[in-house]
Amino acid sequence: MSNVPANLKYTDQHEWLKLDGDIATVGITDYAQGALGDLVFVELPAKGRQVKTGESFVVVESVKAASEVYAPISGEVVEVNEALTKSPELINSAPYDGGWICKIRATDKGELAKLLDAGAYQKLAA
């Protein structure tokens, strides 16, 4: 069973979001990191980049393969987790903590209301 913290929001693409006003901290879920396996490289988005929901904006690479991560909401990337450049394995060891990927300032607050809660995501990742 993978870990799905109750205080976070989720997407059906296995991303989590921690909301603080219009700023969302974004990462991939415990289920996602487990399915991908050991991560060895993360291509982070540029700070200041404007992203649209569903657009590929991060690439996470395991030993075997590269996988795209899609923007869970539209907005501006205001901060990225530089620690992942040296230690991509943080996503495996602490997906909801040290393995956060970036922060996005939401441009459409309506999108935030559409995110899944922990209970709904739990069913997807079961």
Binding site: G37, D38, V40, F41, E43, V59, E61, S62, V63, K64, A65, A66, T85, N92
Partner: protein, 364 residues
């Protein structure tokens, strides 16, 4: 419908991540994960289920001559119990498959070939088979590899009287496990000392479990098998080798026995081909995969055929084909990954020194 190896249940019970490979449902990695499994094999002993691979016996008075005709290697003077890595060539001199052929007796050879090429290989061999030579698939046998510096000690516990310490690299020994005939070959696909054991499939689960009782032995999935071989520069058929690539282009000219030219496609193999297989390392952050293009300035000079992360070197490595004039150690290149150019360098195929039995002897 994917096939299952005789060890399928063992993998599922161990919570392996399973995925289809060459028509078989195979373990990609176990709970430890690919990096840990890779390191374990380099430091201890890794256990691999490679039962998906093809196994056969080629026998008869003309067997040595036949094998010397379908491969660029001569088996006429090969001593008994000696294994050779070689390739099957087509009329164009291209590689149909790469395989291991071991002379078990004067007129009996044990052949191990790739899972994904089974049907093609068998059809090709049967089409060329002369009168008096027979080809029998060993479809009733599992194949289990035990690889790593602790492999010999671990395997010796199952074969206390087999004198494995004196089994040299690229040789075979017939033995028995609980009364069942097995082939023990001292070779592998990891660059470590190690063995491949061909054992009747109904005995395979018990043999697998017996080896795993040793705390130095851990099961290893196909993902680590791939990263281990990539570090050694070993090619993977269907990626680094195909029917349009000759042994010389593939940097496998060494399998061609000197003075031996009477084999299929011999006349078509250009000794100075336009492209050659090389190793590549990335000098900047990023990972380049199969299909990534190699550039020098604005000129495309090659393509990666395998690429990934090296857990031993903690950097991105690969192999591919490059225009021959640039196939030299230290040649600066750029590799395009998702529109970005990453600086790299051409180097020899092997990123690590092999630690097989032979090289251990040399070192001591």
């Amino acid at each position: 419908m994917t096939k299952k190896t005789p060890l399928y249940q063992e993998h599922v019970s161990a919570s392996a991540k399973m995925a289809p490979f060459a028509g078989y449902d195979m373990p990609i990695n176990y709970a430890a994960g690919v990096i840990k499994e890779h390191e374990w094999t380099r430091e201890n002993a890794g256990l691999f289920d490679v039962s998906h691979m093809g196994q056969a016996i080629v026998s008869g008075v003309g067997a040595a001559a036949f094998l010397s005709y379908i491969t660029p290697s001569s088996f006429l003077k090969t001593p008994n119990n000696r294994a050779k890595y070689t390739v099957l060539t087509n009329e164009k001199g291209g590689i149909i498959d790469d395989l291991i052929i071991t002379r078990v007796e004067e007129n009996k050879f044990f052949v191990v070939f790739n899972a994904g090429r089974k049907d093609v290989d068998i059809a090709w061999i049967k089409k060329n088979l002369p009168v008096g030579v027979t080809f029998d698939e060993l479809s009733g046998n599992a194949l289990i590899a035990l690889q790593g510096p602790k492999a010999e000690v671990a395997l010796a516990k199952e074969f206390p009287s087999a004198d494995l310490g004196n089994l040299s690299y690229m040789t075979i020994k017939e033995s028995s496990w609980e009364g069942n005939h097995v082939f023990i070959s001292r070779l592998g696909y990891t660059g470590e000392d190690g063995f491949e054991i061909s054992i009747p499939q109904d005995k395979a689960p018990a043999f697998w479990s017996a080896l795993l009782k040793n705390p130095d032995v851990m099961p290893i999935g196909l993902a680590a098998r791939d990263s281990l071989r990539l570090e050694m520069g070993y090619p993977l058929y269907g990626h680094d080798l195909n029917e349009d690539i000759t042994p010389v282009e593939a940097a496998l000219g060494w399998v061609m026995t000197k003075g031996h030219a009477d084999f299929i496609g011999a006349a078509k193999i250009n000794p100075e081909p336009k492209q050659k297989r090389i190793g590549v390392k990335l000098l900047e952050n990023g990972i380049a995969r199969e299909g990534a293009e190699i550039y020098i300035g604005e000129k495309k000079v090659g393509t990666l055929t395998s690429g990934g992360y090296s857990p031993s070197l903690k950097m991105a490595i690969g192999q591919g084909y490059i225009t021959s004039e640039f196939a030299r150690e230290g040649q600066p290149i750029e590799i395009e990954v998702r529109g970005r150019r990453i600086a790299g360098m051409v180097q020899g195929l092997s990123f690590l020194v092999a630690r097989t039995k032979q090289s251990l002897k040399k070192a001591s």
